[in-house]
């Protein structure tokens, strides 16, 4: 299942956890656990764009940027 998840991610499209779970015929919790594992071993990394960007942003107080949590995927397969 993990392999199937990685293959799906390698396709390069955007995914949503529930639709990934449906594709893998498992639960969103299972997908989240596997994503956390992939993050742990460095194959994917979190996308904390707002946090990082806003730290130094002079307009942070009045920013209208929507906060959308993401995970950023690396396509490399080796450690």
């Amino acid at each position: 299942m993990l392999q199937k998840l990685i293959s799906t991610l390698r396709s390069g499209d955007s995914h949503e956890i529930r639709s990934l779970a449906a594709r893998l015929e498992t639960t969103p919790e299972m997908v989240e656990a596997m994503l956390e594992h992939l993050q742990h071993i460095g194959l994917i990394k979190p996308f904390n764009i707002c946090k990082d960007a806003c730290t130094a942003c002079p307009l942070a107080g009045g920013c209208q940027a929507p906060l959308v949590p993401h995970l950023l995927i690396h396509t490399s397969t080796s450690k």
């Binding site: 994503l35 764009i49 959308v68 995927i73």
Partner: protein, 680 residues
Amino acid sequence: MSDCHEVQTLSSTPLPKIEADAPLIALAGQPNMGKSTLFNLLTGLNQHVGNWPGKTVERKEGHFQLNGRPARLVDLPGTYSLTANSPEEVITREFILIEKPSVVVAVVSAANLERSLYLVAELSALDAPVVVALNMMDVAGQEGICVDTHILAAALGLPVVPMIASKAVGVRELLGVVESVIQGELIPSPHPPEVRADHQDVLRKIESLIAGYMPEGYPRSWVTLKLLEGDTEVTLNMKKALPPEIWEAVHEILRAHDDAFLAVASGRYDWIERMVRASVTRPKVGQIGLTGRLDRWAAHPFWGLLLLAGILGLVFWLTFTIGSPIQVWMDEQLIGSLIGLAEKALIDAPFWLRGSIVDGLIGGVGSVLTFLPILVIFFAAFAVLEDAGYMARAAYVMDNLMHLMGLHGKSFLPLFLGFGCNVPAIMGTRVIDSWPARLLTILIAPLVPCTARMAVVAFIAPAFFGHNATWVSWGLILLSLVALLFSGILLNLVIFKGQRSAFIMEMPLYHIPNIRTIGLLVWQRSLAFIRKAGTIILVMSLLVWVLSRLPDGNMDTSYLARIGLFIEPVGRWMGLDWRLMVALIASFPAKENAIATLGVLFGSSPESGLAGTLASSFSTASALSFLVVTMLFIPCMATVAVTKQETNSWGWTLLGVGLMLLLSMAAGTATYHLALLIGL
């Protein structure tokens, strides 16, 4: 489901002094599983906190009474797995392998077994007797999750004890099971996961090669798994322990299967899935079901886009239908009356004071403030969409579209932030590893229509296009996105060369928006806008007024007019006279200055507000061209500053500004002539 919430309670009892031959119990678990709570509960004050030898990792050890005799308890560091990724993981596995505790209590969360069973999968491959403490049964119960502990225990081959450590519930039963294991009355016989089928031969080959060379206390099957996982410490130890020719053979196999770490993890997740499928029941109805049903449309690649376009149209329609009449009233009645009052009050005041207050302050800043109602509705509409959980879907369908069109996802996500403000969009490009890709993303980021630009559109569009303002605004966003898309495709072809990168979006569940949250968002954003009006826009309005009156008090011969007339020939291609050109230039410090400048130059009156004055002064073709140029014009000062900061180059910054200038002029010229052609 008989054991769903069957847990025993424990009352605190005094603990005797520790004995030398006391049984050793280790608590293992991932962080935040309640391990330390259990440790504190059992040891109370009989604990010692220090460091593990040679490490800065905290070591917690204590003792407690187990069946009337003292037992030692060690709280192992919270670890995700037993691979040597961190000192905590090395400490945990070394302790289990070398110290050989009487029992390892694996603390897992009943509310998230998928996550917490990974460590159990690793522990069950060791020789240590493992007991599973199924903690957080209350949290699982609140979430409607039901774990059948009998089935889980049978599937794992390990004793499983349900408990709630935070309430000292189920602890007595856990100690009873631990005692039974120590006494040999209960013998755990784990069913550990297997490596994925296509790597089992490899596993067997390595196992046979390393047989007889194992360091003391290391199980062969576990060492083989760690070698396949690429565990640096085990690899190094085995290199030392094996004869060179055997190591060479092992190394050759490992090199040929460098993806084996995924096969091992894959086998563990298949195992976890089997365990969870067998023993866990989750609720399938309610909010998740509603979210799923809504997402069939909202996150659909085609219908989702249509829905997004529809929602954007609705937001504009609402903004113009409710906000514009208020804005017109404020413009005509409030600002007009204020100007009338100020003129009367300052009739004897010096020319410069009267002019700066009436035309500069009220005409400029006042005109900008009149579109606060429009912005409030705009902010409120987006706050509702954000708080309801829709904005994540908008990003998702947009990203899908961008992927379809070839734009690289890593570029799109920073760009998405640009809809609020271009500054964080440019800062957000830091997530792009490749410098050329990051640079080009920085250069195209200002093409994203930010809120400030949309504010200018919200003011001008209703004045010229009446009921069609919604369509015009919608079209202007589309135009910006098309420009962005073509730039992105170019970026993809030249820099990324078709390489693709996937994103996973964690979409929140839909929920009814919270009035307080929305109110707070609208308040913060409106306050930021007012602050801007009282600073940058005020200064610019006064500057524009001064330049429009010097040297002789006549606007047509003023310094501003001279600047405007100097660039007017270029403006004529786009149907813009010198005043509109000056308004565009004045938008550099802040986009809203375009309106403030027009307010200073045209003024406002009780008979006709600024919007009305503008509508009677310019053709519809000129207005449309002005809007198009505004959407694509050079970015604001803050965006230019952050571009310089992020590129560390004035050359790249000026190139970006120049490209946008050219693009806006070309689009403005084309729009003006096209509009004249169709008779606007």
